[in-house]
Assembly symmetry: C2
Homo-oligomer: 546 residues x 2
């Protein structure tokens, strides 16, 4: 068995390496030894033009292409080279799509030259996706060694839609074993690391996209999120990421072992260099009415500026009552609240404390909903080629006390408990408007107990999974970075429980040097547009054009 497994691993690695080797011109040598923080390396290895392009806001890139100031080929080559560099530094790519992306970019440039027009709002913008999105005529292994030879014949629907809008798929990226860690380690590709500090994880499960973003090696990555998988890696790398309400963005063509399981819904979400890029992602995909060809999607239109200037009520979840946010995160919350209290023109902002409502129970329920077959399909697939379970797979699956194989009636009961929790939370949210008939518009909360985590320690997702259970949209944005002077450990803190203790004892700021600190904005179901508008106002409060 071992050698069959090794052969499969070798094949996947060879595909990756051959694809990266196509990049022209080849990359020059890297500094040796590498620093922990590699974010300054691109400036040493890439051309000034490549750095200029790849460090621009994605929407600015499309505007320049639309004005003829940049070509799609030029932009695509810049990102291909930067992604190849990211692979060398961070081990975050599973495949670069040189031939496909250059061919498409050439086609777009020719169309533009001939007509003077763009094919759509993303004309010429390179985009990347997590490996388990289907890509025409490519292998899709979904991180399973057993699926290394699984070739697919069509692009995932969301890739089709984005390419119809002018985007160019240029890279595919790493994700963890079973795609159910919020870090990124597999038997196939090893561990992906964080560009700000290679001792830290780039997050997961859309970790490769997170690392690419952190090194500015992609303008826009596409991930999935059933417990934090788009938000956690975006947050770990100081960028933007969102888990929208389920079934708004096309889902057809994701490869995974649990097809037909519907107890908790995953969603595709963007990881991006700017808030505006996420907004465009939703606005134009939803504007294309993808439900016409994918009948599981919801015909909920995207609203431009759903919040009317005037009162804006924001709840602050300082802690979920299970794991207390660590000093950098607590400080980020204060930075944002102080900024909001100083005010934003046009908005009458009211800040309220948002108490956690049974978030511990929510986590138990969520992890029970993840694997209603007790994880059998996943475990069988691993076992079929002798692929060993990595520690974080054991943590969420075989060692998770809430995972069990359901029968039909226990499954129905589980759904009723889930729905009762959702109903309770909806009522709780409505209560925030009891006195003024204006319930909270959004909540601001941590994206995780801490910042990017030490490898192997991401054992608490409930600051993100909480909103998956409720099917509420959540989006993360950068606030600050770990400050060695300000983010000292809380002296004399008495942990609330074992999980809290684990994170408290692990923490000291020097371990997390240079790590970005993000926060999360959460809205009610279908208020995806509200979340992104509120984030704009919050970023304005922080002095940023958003």
């Amino acid at each position: 068995m071992a050698s069959a497994l090794e052969a499969l691993v070798a094949k996947a690695v060879a595909i990756r390496d051959e694809s990266c080797a196509k990049v022209e011109p080849p990359l020059g040598p890297l500094p040796d030894p590498l620093p922990l923080n590699v974010t300054s390396i691109p400036a040493m290895v890439l051309t000034a033009e490549e750095c200029y392009i790849t460090e621009s806001d994605p929407i600015v890139i499309t505007e320049k292409i639309a004005r003829g100031e940049l070509s799609a080929v030029q932009v695509t080559k810049a990102f291909l080279r930067r992604a190849a560099l990211a692979q060398k530094l961070l081990n975050c790519v599973t495949e670069l799509l040189w031939d496909r992306s250059i061919a498409r970019a050439t086609e777009l440039d020719e169309y533009y030259k001939k007509t003077g027009k763009t094919v759509g709002p993303f004309h010429g913008l390179p985009i990347s996706s997590k490996e388990h999105f289907s890509v025409k005529d490519r292998y899709v292994n979904a991180s399973f060694v057993a699926w290394v030879n699984n070739k697919v014949s069509q692009d995932a629907h969301v890739i089709q839609v984005m390419e119809n809008l002018g985007a160019i798929l240029f890279a595919r990226s790493t994700q963890p074993q079973t795609i159910m860690h919020v870090e990124t380690e597999t038997i196939l590709y090893g561990t992906s690391v964080n560009p700000y500090n290679r001792n830290l994880s780039c997050g997961g499960s859309t970790g490769g996209e997170g690392a690419l973003l952190g090194l500015n090696a992609t303008p826009l990555g596409m991930g999935t999120d059933i417990g934090g998988s788009a938000r956690w890696p975006a947050a770990s790398n100081g960028r933007y990421g969102m888990r929208p309400t389920a079934n708004r963005i096309p889902m057809r063509g994701l490869v995974g072992p649990n097809g037909g399981a519907e107890s908790i819904s995953g969603a595709i979400g963007p990881l991006a260099q700017s808030r505006r890029t996420m907004e465009y992602f939703f606005k134009y995909i939803i504007g294309s009415k993808p439900w016409i060809s994918e009948p599981g999607l919801l015909a909920v239109p995207w609203r431009e500026s759903p919040l009317t200037p005037g009162k804006l009520k924001i709840g602050i979840l300082w802690s979920d009552g299970v794991v207390k946010p660590l000093p950098p995160v607590a400080r980020a919350l204060k930075i944002v609240v102080d900024a909001l209290k100083r005010g934003v023109p046009g908005w009458d902002i009211e800040i309220i404390d948002w108490e956690a409502k049974d978030h511990a129970a929510a986590w138990r329920l969520t992890s029970e909903l993840y694997y209603t077959d007790g994880g059998e399909r996943v475990l069988d697939l691993l076992a079929s080629v002798g692929e060993e379970q990595l520690p974080l797979t054991k943590w969420i699956l075989t060692d998770n006390p809430y995972v069990k194989k359901q029968d039909i009636h226990s499954l129905w009961d589980l759904h009723m408990r889930r729905d009762a929790y959702r109903a309770m939370y909806a009522e709780y949210w409505n209560e925030s408007g009891k006195l003024d008939d204006h319930p909270a518009d959004v909540i601001i909360c941590p994206a995780a107990p801490g910042v990017a985590c030490l490898h192997g320690t991401a054992k608490y997702w409930a600051y993100t999974s909480q909103w998956n259970l409720l099917d509420y949209p959540g989006a993360v944005f950068p606030v600050t970075t770990v400050d060695q002077a300000l983010d000292t450990p809380e002296v004399g803190y008495e942990p609330m429980n074992e999980q809290d203790k684990f994170f408290y004892e692990l923490y000291s700021p020097e371990k997390y040097a240079d790590a970005p600190v993000n926060l999360q904005v959460v809205g009610r179901r279908f208020d995806d547009d509200v979340v992104l508008q509120a984030m704009k106002i919050i970023e304005n409060a922080l002095g940023r054009d958003s």
Copy 2:
């Protein structure tokens, strides 16, 4: 056991009878013997004013109340008396709500007197619902003898919303055992019959509402539909009924044994005296944003006139390829097609033939999805008090070869087969626009193989359940009535299969004397508003103001 069961039945019947006895003034004697067609009886038993009120369009009633020309109490009393008469003639009521509805009507009249205003668009309109909708402080048995003592403490959410909009709940009506026949017979209340011909069924499962409508004893009834249960009884009684896309209308507070089962979704739909009444039902309920308090609902807005004058493409499903529509239904299709071909001002109508696409497979899949626990919960509940299975319960459940108890993996596989069928049908629908980039706007098809059926013969629902599987909205409207001269049996027809043979051999027009003939308009998922607008255009083609 038998006497415990009898006591429970007696209790349910006593509740019904006592509630009907409250009606004032008491009803006078009925003709003896009763004719088969009892639609002329109300004019003999009720006052001219009561007849005038109850035979008005529901929207006209609300307009008159809003102008002070009628009072809510006057209207409510008229419908209470007519519903009490319907109970005597058709056995279709489980409870009249005299005290509650008169109290509410009085309150509304006082509000109007004081302010000159209405509380909402349904101000003063009496409405009724199927028994398994929760009603505050009343018993809800969901047709199970075992649940006769099940008292609930809150109104169903949709009742709350409708009452907030000004409506008055005044009656509750019969439904079949297990609420899974498209006729209406229970151990508790016996058999409900059709006002046009008491030898025929009023349909089901929202059969009591169908019968009330057919006798003009309710302006607007609320039903549920997971296989045709709102449309079939509306069609059997020559009225309007609709099954909207799931999760648009509030569902909280329906009582049934299969909570947490999500493989196929039921939906609440209106049964009404006019198309416009259904439109108002959706427009105002959805306009109230019920998803704010019931988080399972979809934030899909209602569109006024989503179809733009110009091209309108209508597919005609002449037969589903399994059971051929009987002569009155085939004639109704021709009537409508001929009318549409004559044209409607403002619309360029194109009629295309719509071929059935594996509708037999769809029915197998649908009936497998109904009872993923093999019907155990239902059967246990029946057995708990020794309630015997009625023949149509056996037909859909214990004798149904597709019903089986699933395990988690077979359930997932079933969901994938369902989703594959949905994806196939979406693509098929899109193909109807291949040549002109204008796919069909709606389909017109039968609501059933025939008209209101002889008691115990409703053994084919697939003209309605087809659209439940796809989660497409479908709405029925009246076209004609059975014509003894025109609707003669097709001579020499060779049935396609056993089911087809059953309906073909059963048919002769004299058995179905006076039965209304309805048809169905079907649209794509979320095109509920398109369906109702298309129905308006179709009714205009038939020379009706709609």
